[in-house]
């Protein structure tokens, strides 16, 4: 490194050395004259003794900076100068590399943050996720990998394999730090959470085991550093302050470490609440100590020296015993023998979890890898293009190279010069790419499926990312420079010096190979792009199955504002009535669960016709008010909608009627009329199917647009529903309705926050975010790829025509037709296109399986798609080859011969 600095102060060093040597010579000359030599002779001898001024200087320079490096730096300078002299070439190369590097860096940053980045905790590589494989004979709520809190407690005693075990669940609470109540993301955690992760406090303390001993006894919270800074202005006296969590007073005991943002990249909590306070954090929740309630993820830290496999094997004997005990425990549900068998056959599975647990990661990992692969292909294409440009430039500079060779430059030296060229350009391109990347990242993050993701993901460039971009650009430089460097000065020296004005066919074959590979890669990207675009258009065309125009939705959750179930139920009914009566409303309804969020309430069901059957998979359930289906514009195919007959007064609970969808009828009832059939939730022997099906509705999307599922609906006003999602078909523009709706809610309770507020069009768009990102990016990539390879093809064909002008002239003079000369050129292009296609197709077949799960309504090997892509590619490629071909047919034989 110090040596590299010498490069920049080389002028100082040189003049210093000159002074030093001159001093030496002068002194020596003086001494020699004094000893009697004439001055001329003295000078000669002094110089002789030193062994030559220039040689000493050269030797010392080698010490300052090793010769190789020095030459390379000179090469770089030379390259930079020559690039300034050909700005068009430079711009083309830098731009294509900037695009490649910028896109790759942006996508990689997301891959890194979402998929690869380890948690900022002590030894994250020893963290594992504990998951239950099999049937837990339990009910649950939450995302994935759910287990009960008592099992986490049990696992904590397994200290032969674990250093510690903790569990956590995400929820949203209404939080007030003095003023307004706002929804805030909270992580409910066991007392072991912070100690096992090894995360400390920035202020005060973190939660510990003492906060998680007795349910309801530890009203304390720890705030996130970001929340403390942004919402409380970093108040120094934060410890000891009272906050209201769902109207329950709790004391802030500390602020967590600044770098720690929870263990889920997609859901960054504002505060941590001990599991002992879960009843307060989740209104109406009483399942903390219930073994049959799955709601938390369990993570553990492996003991030093214990491998994952050892830990997993070590747990099973204990787990088997626990399962046996569980079945004898009071409260174990009455289940079928078969289900009991499944329960007893369960195992525990450990998976490495250095990045924590995230459902966002689960959802995005495949799309992100697909995109990263696509950008890598794009970068490869850009490199090939640059390599082609370099080869073209190399042919133009062939005479220069030959002259240098003739003057004694080694081939290695010239190859290095060419490599310096490409590395310099690649790094410049990389620099522009890095400058572009944050913009691309911001755009990408904004279009990700979750609001929370936008808060948690960063669009800034850190050192890690810079390192990545540097490596990518350097690799791109070397890759794109390698072919021209190897090509440099091949072929006999004499011929290339003898030919005037350029050279023979140096590098044309190599360029043809590059173009063929480019065509193959772009065909792959074009097929991919078409598949994803087709998926998106297919989903958009399918739609959610209901009319979204002028439909808005908003959510209320009064239980989080301290309402009792009965009070909450009264409030919901009152708001429902007020909305119904409002002038903005055409029709309106309320449902227990929101549509198109990816989640649902689901359960297996038992159906009683003349025989009793259980559903073979979960049915998606919802509770809705009368008018729900008409508000959504969903057709009622048979029977009736819910009405006042299905409602009960507040406080009275019990189900009497249900509506199912067409898919339900088709799957479980065959052709039979479903009206009058009795159903119920659950599939155990003690399930009592006593709810009458009173109607059948057309299918529409519940969890998401892709999914086609069996659904069943219950009346919302027959139970203790205490919150919900309102759906309002408004008159006029939806935006104008928002203020009226807000006023109605405010009138009902000024302190009640509205959980969300959006139009259904927006909701549909949101639910297709992943598909949209994939379609837009892969579409853009394939267009870019196409352009890049067409430029490559055009370039090489033009070159060939220019080089063969004389030959073509002779052919024409000898009587060849113009069309036959055009064919001469086109044939070349056709061979490349055909070879590229032949390479691409097997790749598409192999890669297709990887993306199959991201597609909808189209197979990865769909022949129509592949034919369309090949057609697009071939026609544009032929178009690009046609121009040089026409030039070939327009050659004037006399002109071309005179040219020589």
């Amino acid at each position: 490194m110090r040596r590299l600095l010498n490069w920049f102060r080389r002028r100082d060093l040189e003049s210093g050395l000159d002074r030093e040597l001159r001093y030496h010579i002068d002194r020596r000359v003086g001494d020699l004259i004094r000893s009697g030599l004439p001055e001329k002779e003295a000078r000669r001898q002094a110089a002789l003794e030193l062994g030559g001024f220039a040689q000493v200087r050269e030797e010392v320079r080698d010490i300052w900076l090793s010769r190789w490096l020095r030459d390379f730096l000179y090469d770089l300078r030379f390259s930079a100068r020559s690039f300034f002299n050909s700005p068009a070439f430079t711009a083309a190369v830098v731009l294509s590399l900037a695009l490649g590097v910028g896109a790759t860096t942006a996508i990689y940053s997301l891959v890194d943050q979402v998929l690869l980045h380890a948690l900022p905790v002590r030894q994250p590589e020893r963290l594992v996720l504990v998951d239950w494989m099999g049937d837990q004979a339990a009910n649950g709520f939450g995302s994935f990998n759910l287990m009960s809190y008592p099992i986490c407690r049990d696992l904590q005693s397994q200290d032969r394999v674990f250093e510690g075990v903790f569990c956590r669940a995400l929820t949203t609470v209404n939080l007030s730090t003095g003023g307004e109540h706002k929804p805030a993301a909270a992580e409910i955690v066991s007392g072991t959470y912070f100690p096992v992760l090894g995360v400390g406090a920035a202020v005060g303390r973190v939660l510990g085991n003492e906060d998680d001993l007795t349910p309801g006894a530890s009203p304390v919270v720890v705030l996130s550093y970001d929340f403390w800074k942004t919402q409380l202005g970093g108040a120094p006296d934060v410890v000891g302050r009272k906050v209201l969590v769902n109207q329950h007073p709790m004391t802030v005991v500390g602020v967590a470490d600044p770098v720690f943002r929870g263990i889920d990249i997609g859901e960054v909590p504002s505060l941590w609440i001990p599991a002992s306070m879960s009843a307060q954090a989740i209104p109406g929740f009483t399942g903390l100590l219930d073994r049959r309630t799955r709601w938390m993820q369990i993570l553990a830290r492996l003991k030093q020296g214990v491998s994952l496999a050892q830990a997993q094997a070590g747990l099973q004997p204990w787990f088997k015993t626990m399962l046996e005990e569980d079945t004898r425990r009071a409260g174990f549900p009455h289940v079928t023998a078969e289900r009991r068998q499944r329960f007893l056959a369960s195992t525990l599975e450990l998976t490495p979890a250095p990045q924590g647990h995230s459902s966002l990661r689960r959802r995005l990992s495949q799309p992100l890898w697909v995109l990263l692969a696509a950008t890598a292909v794009l970068l490869g294409l850009a490199c090939l293009n640059v390599a082609g440009l370099f080869l073209a430039r190399g042919s133009a500079r062939d005479r220069e190279m030959s002259t240098r060779l003739a003057l004694g430059a080694s081939r290695g030296r010239i190859a290095r010069q060419l490599l310096a060229d490409s590395v310099l350009l690649a790094l410049t391109g990389g620099l522009f790419g890095v400058a572009l990347a944050p913009l691309a990242m911001r755009t990408l993050i904004a279009s990700l499926p979750r609001d929370a993701a936008a808060n948690a993901l960063q669009s800034s460039i850190d050192l890690r990312l810079l390192g990545f971009a540097f490596l990518v650009s350097a690799a791109a430089g070397i890759l794109s420079g390698l072919a021209p460097a190897l090509q440099a000065g091949r072929g006999p020296l004499v011929t290339s010096l003898r030919t005037r004005g350029g050279s023979a066919f140096n590098g044309v074959r190599l360029r043809k190979v590059l173009v063929t590979v480019q065509i193959a890669l772009s065909l792959i990207l074009v097929i991919g792009g078409l598949l994803f675009v087709k998926t998106l258009t297919g989903l958009l065309a399918k739609g959610p199955g209901f009319q979204t125009s002028r439909l808005v939705s908003f959510g209320l959750d009064p239980r989080r504002s301290g309402y009792s179930p009965a009070e909450a139920s009264r409030l919901i009914r009152r708001v429902y009535a007020d909305i119904q009566a409002s002038a903005i409303t055409q029709t309106s309804a309320v449902a227990r669960f929101q549509l198109l969020t990816g989640g649902s309430w689901n359960n297996p069901m038992t159906i009683q016709t003349n025989r009793r059957i259980s559903t073979d998979r979960d049915v998606n359930l919802n509770a809705v008010s009368p008018g729900f289906f008409s508000t959504l514009g969903v057709r009622i195919i048979a029977g009736r909608d819910f009405d006042d007959r299905d409602s009960r007064p507040v406080g009275e609970v019990g189900s009497r009627s249900a509506i199912v969808n067409e898919a339900f009828v088709k799957r479980y009832l065959g052709g039979r009329s479903p009206l009058g059939v009795r159903i119920c939730q659950g599939d155990g022997p003690d399930a009592k199917p006593d709810i009458e099906v009173v109607g059948v509705v057309a299918d529409f999307s519940y969890r998401g647009i892709r999914e086609e599922s069996e659904q069943a609906y219950f009346p919302i006003f027959e139970g203790d529903d205490a919150g919900g999602s309102f759906y309002v078909k408004v008159h006029g523009r939806p935006e104008q309705a928002f203020s009226s709706i807000r006023a109605i809610v405010h009138h009902a309770d000024p302190a009640l926050p509205v959980a969300y507020f959006r139009t259904l069009d927006e909701q549909v768009n949101r639910s297709l975010n992943t598909e949209r990102v994939l379609a837009i990016l892969s579409g853009a990539f394939s267009v870019l790829a196409l352009v890049l390879s067409l430029i490559g093809l055009y370039g090489v064909m033009s070159f060939v025509v220019a080089k063969r002008t004389r030959e073509i002239g002779i052919r024409l003079a000898l009587g060849a037709t113009r069309s036959s000369t055009a064919w001469l050129v086109l044939r070349d292009a056709l061979v490349m296109i055909a070879a590229g296609t032949a390479i691409a197709l097997p790749c598409v077949w192999a890669l297709g399986r990887l993306v199959a799960s991201e597609l909808y309504g189209v197979k990865p090997t769909d022949p129509a798609m592949i034919a369309a892509s090949a057609l697009i590619l071939c026609s544009t490629a032929l178009g690009a080859a046609l121009m040089p071909a026409r030039r070939a047919s327009a050659v004037d034989p006399t002109e071309s011969l005179r040219f020589e």
Partner: protein, 113 residues
């Protein structure tokens, strides 16, 4: 008639320079003269290799250089030993002593009948 002086062995030049500078700082010409004096008629030091050696030692951090007025009144580049240079000299002296001792021993062993 070839000179009875033989060229200085590879690597010893550095050691000698360090040794000379361990007494007092000196400029290149001074070092050359000093080398000439102490090695008169025994070893031949090519003055051309002196400056590369000085710059190499400076690059390694064993010497530090400073432009100062010389005895003739003109500015000259004076080299002085740094702390790590002093350590290096000790190391080289030690290994030199061991090497020459060992060579001596071998000669004596072989010399016996």
């Amino acid at each position: 008639m070839p000179s009875p002086r033989f060229p200085i062995p590879q690597g010893t030049l550095d050691m000698l320079i360090l040794q000379i500078l361990s007494r007092e700082p000196a400029h290149g010409y001074g070092i050359a003269q000093r080398l000439e004096q102490i090695s008169r008629s025994v070893v031949q030091v090519n003055q051309g290799s002196l400056y590369p050696a000085l710059h190499r030692l400076e690059q390694k951090g064993w010497l530090q250089a400073e432009w100062k007025q010389s005895e003739t009144g003109r500015e000259a580049k004076f080299y002085a030993l740094t702390r790590s240079g002093r350590k290096q000299l000790a190391v080289e002296k030690d290994s030199w002593a061991r090497l020459s001792g060992a060579v001596q021993l071998i000669f004596e062993e072989e010399g016996r009948p």
